[in-house]
């Protein structure tokens, strides 16, 4: 038997020992059966040491000292991240960027996405923003009494909203 090591979380006898090297840094974690189960180490669906590290067992690379930050969409703060180990909503990535970005650099191979894009989503987003843009122009044209422009813009608008509807039919 190897010498006994205690669990990093609850100090019971550790039976699960993990070692990972992320970006050249060695991380070791020793857990007891119960904590390993709780942390999902034995769950083949989704465990990664990085998750554990990110959730505060080992705080290297995770800076939660940005106490002034708050997500403008969902109200999430770095303090919440410390508790949950997860973010609140998609906008948190942007609004809490000073906290998130160093973590990403620490966890991942790069900091920019390379790979698949959600083509339909992007097309819909673009068409919606175009719609808003033309609506603004139309309002301007009406305000400035440029009625010929307004008629043309209204036609464009009708055409685009038909396309937009088309997206939902598929």
């Amino acid at each position: 038997m190897a010498e006994s090591i205690n669990c990093d979380i609850c100090s019971k006898l550790a039976t699960v020992h993990l070692t990972q090297i992320v970006n050249g840094k060695i991380h070791k974690i020793d857990l007891c059966e119960t904590c390993a189960k709780e942390k999902g180490v034995t769950d083949p669906n989704g465990f990664s040491l990085a998750d554990l590290l990110a959730s505060g067992v080992d705080n290297d690379g995770v800076d939660v000292s940005h106490s002034d930050l708050v997500c403008s969409v969902c109200g999430f703060t770095p303090e919440d991240y410390k508790k949950l180990g997860r973010l609140g909503c998609p906008s948190c990535y942007e609004d809490l960027a000073p906290m998130v970005e160093p973590m990403l650099a620490y966890m991942h191979k790069g900091v920019s996405h390379i790979g698949k894009k959600p083509e339909n989503t992007l097309a819909r987003v673009e068409s919606r923003s175009k719609l808003t843009e033309i609506e603004d122009q139309l309002q301007n044209a009406i305000d400035e009494e440029r009625y010929e422009d307004a008629a043309e813009l209204r036609d464009q608008l009708l055409h685009l909203s038909k396309e937009e509807e088309g997206f939902h039919v598929h």
């Binding site: 190897a2 550790a14 039976t15 699960v16 020992h17 070692t19 990972q20 090297i21 992320v22 390993a36 189960k37 999902g40 180490v41 034995t42 769950d43 083949p44 669906n45 989704g46 465990f47 990664s48 040491l49 990085a50 998750d51 990110a54 969902c74 999430f76 919440d80 949950l84 180990g85 997860r86 973010l87 609140g88 909503c89 998609p90 990535y93 942007e94 998130v100 973590m103 990403l104 966890m107 991942h108 191979k109 790069g110 900091v111 920019s112 996405h113 390379i114 790979g115 698949k116 894009k117 959600p118 083509e119 339909n120 989503t121 992007l122 819909r124 987003v125 598929h170």
Partner: protein, 360 residues
């Protein structure tokens, strides 16, 4: 379809007819996806999670790639039913433990499942027997695109698919293979292998410490990073690491057969004896003994036809499946009795391993 009859179908992992191989038990890929307009499940209000669940169940139920899907709300399932889905790798422990607003869609052949409101709004997963990273990726890629036709995903040009945990952001892709590595375990090389692949950004999961045969010598190898690398690159790297591990495992087996064959033959023989004649069998003992039987098949000591049955028994020896087969909840001690009797029945049909071809 009732949940009982659905569960009575064997899952992809328990099909005996499909492509099976030594060393690699199964390949799995999952994609983490979220809807653009909602907070992540762990931060959302109950009503928001309900809305996401409703929309996702509706959309995923009519994806052409998923034939005859079954959609389930986790809070409508019993503990035992959840346990069975977990043992089949169709849902995670987390989804099972936090059933409120959670759901899953599962294809009839149980090779594809989509968890709703787990850590992310959507966790799409495809699992196949044997090593099929490319085929699995092609399939899951088309499912993902079909879902995205009807739902706006949370995505940023810079960071890719946005996920609740920053460890999954980017491709949202986790690819893994379940490897059977008794040779590396027996020869004490596993820790060395783990350290080596960790340096390549690949994680190995396995429980060490409880003796060398822990958990049937199964290890899950998966990519650790999801941002800054394309799907194809992630899969390529994982594939090449896996090829190296497989090679090492083959070498280790060869060496054991050269140096210490009676020791391993003895282990196999005893495993067969216990499975065929035992009356009390815990699930971990069953796993470890079955692991040796699988090795015997790889050695040609047992017929290749038994592989499907043995791989199925790994799943059916788990606590949930023992109770499901008995059609009631059973205390752990009593389960060991039932498990042993189930194994005796199965092994009555498997002739004893022969090692004659090694001595000729």
């Amino acid at each position: 379809m009732s949940i009982r009859s659905f569960l009575s179908n064997r899952g992809e992992l328990a099909q005996s007819s499909s492509t099976r191989s030594p060393i690699v038990m199964s390949t799995r890929i999952r994609l983490a996806r979220n809807l653009a307009q909602f907070p992540f499940p762990g931060w959302a209000k109950k009503t928001q999670n309900e809305e996401v669940l409703g929309r996702c169940l509706e959309v995923t139920a009519r994806i052409p790639q998923i034939k005859n899907p079954t959609g389930l709300r986790i809070d409508e399932l019993s503990e035992l039913e959840r346990q069975i889905l977990f043992e089949r790798h169709l849902i995670s422990r987390e989804l099972s433990n936090e059933p409120e607003g959670a759901g899953v869609i599962i294809s009839k052949d149980q090779s594809c499942s989509i968890m709703i409101n787990e850590e992310d709004h959507l966790r799409i997963q495809v699992i196949k027997n044997g090593l099929h990273l490319k085929r699995t990726w092609n399939f899951i890629n088309s499912i993902d695109s079909a879902v995205e036709e009807s739902l706006d995903y949370a995505y940023s040009k810079d960071l890719g698919y946005l996920t609740a945990c920053p460890t999954n952001v980017g491709t949202g892709l986790r690819a893994s293979a379940m490897l059977h590595l008794p040779g590396l375990v027996v020869s004490g090389q596993m820790e060395k292998v783990v350290r080596a692949v960790n340096q390549l950004g690949i994680a190995v999961r396995g429980i060490f410490g409880e003796g060398s045969d822990a958990s049937g010598s199964f290890f899950q190898i998966s990519n650790q990073q999801t941002l800054g690398e394309s799907e194809a690159e992630i899969l390529k790297r994982l594939n090449s690491v896996m090829a190296t591990i497989i090679e090492r495992e083959e070498d280790a087996r060869e060496k054991v057969l050269e140096d210490d064959r009676n020791k391993i033959f003895d282990k196999i023989g005893r495993a067969y004896g216990v499975l065929k004649n035992g009356h009390l069998l815990s699930s971990s003992e069953a796993m470890n003994r079955l692991s040796l039987i699988r090795l015997a098949i790889d050695f040609g000591s047992l017929a290749e036809q038994s592989r499907g049955l043995v791989d199925r028994l790994f799943i059916e020896c788990q606590p949930g499946h023992i109770q499901f087969n008995a059609n009631k909840e059973i205390e752990p001690n009593q389960r060991d009795v039932l498990r042993a009797s189930y194994m005796r029945e199965a092994f009555a049909k498997i002739p004893e391993p022969s090692f004659d071809h090694f001595t000729q």
